[in-house]
């Protein structure tokens, strides 16, 4: 019996900390664990007893990369519990803020974390030695996103201006003008990014994914919508965000390293750019649709390596829509709607750059949080990432271990896993025998 173990001690160019252990026996995979050693931080427990206004600021601290996603899902869950709704220009402002986060997070991933894989560099900084103009373009794009978040939220990481019901202060048209100016340039950069990454050399891989993403009647859903599921062939099925826990169940598997989310009893579905694109590509802005067509993306993309192209298309969409919203922006009369706490349960979901982020809160008679539940995208994708890796490694186990390790890192990076988001990931000791 031959026994071989591939270890990647610490995953790099991902947000957070994780590792992968693969056990092989007689040329077959006997076990594969994407191991997360991010220390648990217990957010759901800490939120109990906090006021109904507090979760947006507190849950932003789950993740420094996508704090706006946490703020948006938290706000909407609490507003739902309290029977309030944020509409009109305040909703537009939320979308704008969210587009800013999308631009900066996607630009970070595309240029500094993911593209180096395709061009053969260890980092964006190393890539800059030979491709300074490209890295500078990426940084400029990222900056455009951060400036938009800063104009509305005060700062790019853990913005301070978001509150349940809307904002503390609505920005003036004048305050948004510099961000708009930069966004016009960013939109050109985003189009150039799509053309650039579309030319990468992609492995010829397709997976038969089951997708999950929000869907909205008129928008490429980011801020809100119902939950859509499907394989990209038939018309998607769907359910209301409030019915989330009837469909998505997280299980702690004793011999696995992470909670595995099951969708309607099946394990291993995918959320994130490929899922959004498969279920919603018809609702991208016309410019983003054109860019996608020119990049050779069909209505559905099942090649995980080409997620970088989908991300680039989503940057075009975000720049384009943000500019449209800024052009039509009229300062709202009030920066927020009143949200009076009442006992009850509220659900909220929005599309973080890496996938659907679900929050549920139960408020007690005193308006304090009695229960909190957070389901981050990476926890949902965990089982599917492991399945991708099994498919990748199965026929290649005889390759040298360092080559295998590099291949696995690349396959994991396709999914932009945000491990610090993984409020649920385990610190499990694995017995390697």
């Amino acid at each position: 019996m031959t026994h071989k173990t591939v270890r990647i001690g610490a995953l790099t160019r991902v947000e957070g900390e994780g590792a992968l252990v693969v056990h092989a026996r007689d040329g077959r995979i006997a076990g594969l664990e994407l191991r997360i050693y991010e220390p648990p931080r217990f957010f759901e427990a800490m939120l109990r007893g906090r006021g109904h206004t507090e979760p947006p600021d507190i849950t932003a601290r789950v993740c420094g990369i996508c704090p706006v996603a946490y703020q948006m899902s938290a706000c909407q869950a609490i507003e739902a519990a309290c029977g309030a709704e944020v509409t009109g220009p305040l909703r537009d402002l939320r979308l704008l803020l969210y587009y800013g986060e999308w631009i900066e997070s996607h630009a970070l991933h595309v240029y500094l974390l993911h593209a180096p894989d395709f061009l053969g560099y260890d980092s964006g900084v190393a890539m800059a030695a030979d491709h300074r103009d490209l890295v500078e373009r990426g940084l400029e794009l990222k900056k455009a996103g951060n400036e938009l978040v800063t104009a509305i939220g005060g700062r790019p990481i853990h913005p301070v201006n978001v509150r349940v019901g809307g904002f503390y202060r609505a920005p003036s048209r004048r305050e948004l003008a510099p961000a708009a100016e930069r966004l016009r340039r960013a939109r050109d950069h985003a189009l150039a990014t799509v053309a650039w990454v579309a030319g990468f050399d992609f492995p010829d891989v397709e997976h038969d994914y089951r997708f999950l993403a929000l869907r909205h009647p008129s928008e490429y859903a980011i801020l809100s919508g119902a939950v859509g599921t499907g394989d990209g062939r038939a018309e998607p099925a769907g359910f209301a965000v409030a019915d989330w826990s009837d469909h998505v169940i997280e299980e702690q598997v004793p011999h696995s390293t992470a909670l595995h989310a099951r969708l309607d009893g099946e394990t291993g579905y995918l959320t994130g750019p490929l899922a959004r694109y498969a279920l919603n590509s018809a609702r991208l802005s016309p410019l983003a649709r054109e860019a996608a067509a020119a990049a050779g993306l069909g209505p559905v993309c099942r090649n995980p390596y080409r997620a970088i192209v989908v991300r680039a298309v989503e940057i075009v969409h975000a720049c384009d829509e943000a500019l449209r919203l800024i052009d039509g922006y009229a300062e709202p009369e009030r920066p927020c709607v009143p949200v009076e706490p009442r006992p009850g349960v509220g659900h909220g979901a929005s599309e973080a750059p890496r996938g659907t982020l679900y929050h549920r809160y139960r408020l007690d008679d005193g308006g304090l949080v009695a229960e909190a539940d957070i389901v981050p995208p990476t926890a949902q994708n965990q089982a599917r990432i492991e399945a991708d890796l099994r498919d990748l490694l199965g026929p290649r186990l005889t390759l040298p271990e360092d080559e295998l390790a590099a291949l696995c890192e690349k396959a994991i990076r396709n999914h932009d896993p945000c491990i610090s988001c993984s409020a649920h990931f385990l610190d499990l000791r694995v017995d390697h025998g």
Binding site: F43, A45, R61, G64, D122, S123, V125, L139, I157, Y168
Partner: protein, 260 residues
């Protein structure tokens, strides 16, 4: 070329990201230092020793207790960045609870979780050369700290309160003008008085200033209608175990008991 390392412990990654958010400066910093170890940004971690280590996150697991000692051994200078590394962070709320109960709320099998019952700052375990505040830190202050250490001088970072920044920025005082509770008077400057500029009270994400008068502030917060639980919660958020904020919350609770 001086060698820089960036380390992560229990945290949200936001402080490391502050470094990558220096879009205009990143490539020029990279030209002056070798970014030798930075897992979030590079697949090629280089071995120590390092001239400057930036440490994000707090110590919450038995392994991390060992790892921070290793980081100290391989680092000529060690600088903590952000609220977690400097004060234990939001996850230090476990210090006021039973961590096993916390684990049972979040995990079906809490017995799989290896965790410490406290979240502690880096300085509780190893000598630290400088602590940079903020949740997240301000990127200009981060650049100042990096350049100062590379030049062999102390960083210039103010120790005064957010109130000073508010005045400098020309903000109206949200407490005086709107009756909004604000931690600005007891919180260290550095953010540029961001929250008051958006018409909200400071929530203390840069932690306690050098010599805060929280007794006076607690009095004014009560005058503005804050209840004892609200007052306790506002101190017990991102710097719950930083000594002045811990005392301020305890005094607020004691006030209630004294009155009762």
């Amino acid at each position: 070329m001086p060698r820089l390392a960036v380390w992560k412990f229990a945290s949200c990654d936001g402080c490391q990201l502050t470094f990558l958010d220096c879009e205009d400066e990143l490539l020029s910093v990279a030209a002056r230092v070798e970014i030798a170890y930075f897992l979030e940004a590079s697949s090629a971690p280089g071995p120590g020793p390092y001239d400057l280590s930036l440490v994000e996150g707090s110590i919450t697991t038995p392994e991390d207790l060992e790892r921070i000692r290793h980081v100290r051994r391989v680092s000529k200078r060690l600088v903590t960045i952000g609220a977690c590394a400097t004060a234990g962070g939001i996850q230090a709320l476990r210090d006021f609870a039973d961590v096993r109960e916390f684990a049972a709320v979040v995990y079906a099998r809490p017995d799989y979780i290896a965790t410490l019952d406290r979240s502690t700052p880096i300085a509780a375990h190893v000598p630290v050369d400088f602590e940079l505040r903020g949740c997240p830190p301000d990127k200009h202050q981060l650049l100042e700290v990096i350049s100062a250490f590379l030049a062999g001088r102390r960083p210039v970072v103010p120790a005064h309160s957010v109130c000073v920044e508010c005045k400098a920025r020309g903000n109206a005082c949200v407490m005086v003008a709107h009756g909004t509770p604000c931690l600005g008077p007891v919180t260290q400057a550095g953010c540029g008085a961001l929250c008051p500029a958006f018409n909200r009270g400071c929530y203390g994400c840069f932690g306690p200033m050098e010599s805060p008068n929280h007794a006076s502030l607690n009095h004014w917060m009560r005058e503005l209608g804050m209840s004892t639980p609200e007052l306790v919660r506002i101190y017990r958020t991102y710097h719950a175990t930083a000594e002045p904020f811990r005392r301020a919350a305890e005094e607020a609770q004691g006030f209630e008991e004294g009155a009762g």
